[in-house]
Amino acid sequence: MVFVDEYPKTSKLIRSQFIVSFIALALGAVFGIVQALHRTGTFRIFSSADYYTILTGHGVLLALVFTTFFIAGLFGWAVSNSLERVLPQRAAWGAFWLMLVGTVLAAVAILGGLFGAPSILGHSLKADVLFTFYAPMKAHPAFYLGAALIIVGSWIAGYAYFKSLWNWRSENAGERIPLKTFMVITTMLMWYISTIGVAVEVVVFLIPWSLGLISNVDPLLTRTLFWYFGHPVVYFWLMPAYLVWYTILPKLAGGRLFSDPLARVVFVLFLLLSTPVGFHHQYVDPGIPEGFKFIAMTNTMFLLLPSLLTAFTVVASLEHGARQNGGKGYFSWLRNLPWGEPAFAGCALAGLMFAAGGFSGMINAGMNINYLIHNTLWVPGHFHLTVGTAFALTAMAISYWLVPQITGKKLQRRGLAAIQPYIWFIGMALMSNAMHRAGLAGIPRRTAEPTYSEFSFEGVAGTVGEMRLQIAIGGTLLFVGAALFLVVMAETWIAHRGGRLRVNSVFPDPLSGPEHSPRILDNYKLWTAIALVLIVIAYGPPLAAMLADGITAPGSPPIPV
């Protein structure tokens, strides 16, 4: 039976979440191409002062809205499919509406900047503070309020998954938690722990400060709270991609998951290690003693472990699938994978690019080599491989597989769908490698102009002009990739039902199943407690030092941008 017929209510919820996420993707992609063409000096529609409004929109819509709504939908499917039950409707829909109101508030505040920033409720309606919104730059209060609502909404969405698990447990005492639900719950626990930082930043400090209720905030403290959340959030993007790679991709490859226990170990490691690392974004911040940076660096390096293990398990599962399809030899089995299937090809290419992103991430994490690339174009080069491809391309690819199941409609335009992942891949290869090299040449990120009046940049490998051209061409291909995806989705969405779907959510058993994994892995209380202890070790002393001189000292008043 098709998912939509079995769970019509949950399907409707997932459809609503996906629609919001696809609209965010569409707008974000338009902003993306505008930026790629603007900052390379290729083609301009906006003034350079407006560049930052566009960039704020791009960051917020893609990194926060597209991801969070898509993940909410994917997780809803994963929990409901693996526990075989309907999600608690009130909580799940409440979460959806809260997140939507938050998104609209934030989006209106941002877009106001393109329409002359009219004064609304005594504050000018603009929010060109970028998605990191470092104080003391101030946005319209609606921006902070919107951000807070998106986060609170996601907490409630998580409650719906926990509630489903508790209900399932009371009927299935003693059984192992199904892998997909296990992954969802571990991810949400990590999310709860890490969003506390940004929630405190926004609710305790930035909202009252932007409204004028308190006059000062400590820029270093709010920044630290932001990055306490800012690194784990990348795992909140990645872990859903891993969920797809571990649980769905082996089936798409024609095989079975290699090891269920190892997948659980990987997710537990993420829960433990994701949060106490945020200082690695503050390696070059003044006001923070070197020792704290060093602790974050060692934790960060150990965080490589779960990703390296994932690489092994996922590749081993794919190889198993390929051999089932008649694959032979050391590497020639790669030819026996279904490269023409959009869902498979997208996930596999996303995984491949993630490997490259992992390497540039190791450079970022290297405490002293970080000097070379901190805040240069290298950084967007890196995260367009991770969130911009590992997550985004996986999300698009798995939509080709999931959307038919939640709508009951056959995937339309299979030909376009089949080439789309390759276009994204080529576009990203061009844009990202040029961004990395431009970073090495010292070209900063987040800037509207390619040149400065006082000096000019020189390329280390290749000329600066050639890098600009690649960024422009790559960005254009990416935009085409996003547009093709949206066309396929739109046509599928409006198609009539009928005919046999080629996909279903029935999964083959893993080669090594949950019965091989120690029970202690399902002990969430234990893992959460250890995670909290690690955080206290990494963050306790520095936060205590920042708070010792008063929570808003040294203080800064809001500065309108």
Binding site: A49, Y52, Y134, P136, M137, P219, L220, R223, S259, P261, L262, Y283, V284, D285, P286, G287, I288, P289, E290, K293, F294, M297, T298, M301, F302, L304, L305, L308, L309, F312, T313, A365, G366, M367, N368, Y371, L372, H374, N375, T376, G442, P444, R445, R446, T447, A448, E449, Y452, S453, E454, F455, S456, E458, S512, P518, P554, S556, P557, I559, V561
Partner: protein, 175 residues
């Protein structure tokens, strides 16, 4: 729990790689003495920097000769210039000399990075960033604000001129 032999080998190699990374970085920090930006610069009031009444050298930023072979450069970053550094007041320092940059902000978060060097720090209101370097090559280096600081962020650049030690003349410190 069942762990496949290949998995064990992979796991071992992964841990070795990680420990290796940590070891090289530790060596870089302790052995080669690449020090990080830290809290050594101390705190300062951003409003006082703005108003020029900190009672420190930041009220009159510029290059100060600290000793025979060390200069200290006080720089104020503010929307949208470095004082000194931007426009026609480049930062002028001698080669083969210890140069300590002390940088702070008068308003929002800025960045301070000198192209073709390792000098790269955030400039956070309320904090003084301190970086020390020795330039062994003379010439003009670019200076960039690499953290978005407002609508004209892209104009916030400058330059650093490194002159041969024997031709360097300490300047009158002025704005």
């Amino acid at each position: 729990m069942q762990v496949h032999n290949f998995e064990k080998v992979w796991l071992g190699a992964a841990i070795l790689l990680i420990v290796g990374f940590i070891a090289t970085i530790s060596y870089g920090t302790v052995g080669a003495g690449i020090s990080m930006v830290d809290d050594s610069g101390g705190q300062i009031s951003a409003q006082a920097v703005q108003n020029g009444n900190t009672g420190t050298q930041f009220d009159d930023p510029g290059v100060v000769q600290a000793s025979e072979d060390q200069v200290v450069v006080y720089v104020v970053a503010q929307q949208f210039q470095f004082r000194p550094g931007s426009g026609d007041t480049p930062i002028r320092v001698p080669a083969d000399t210890r140069v300590t940059f002390k940088v702070t902000s008068a308003d929002v978060v800025h960045g301070f990075s000198i192209t073709e060097t390792n000098i790269n720090t955030m400039v956070i209101p309320g904090q003084v960033a301190e970086v020390t370097a020795v330039f062994d090559e003379t010439g003009t280096y670019g200076l960039v604000c690499h953290e978005y600081c407002g609508a004209a962020h892209h104009t916030m650049g400058g330059s650093v001129e490194v002159v041969p030690k024997d031709q360097y003349e300490p300047q009158e410190v002025s704005n």
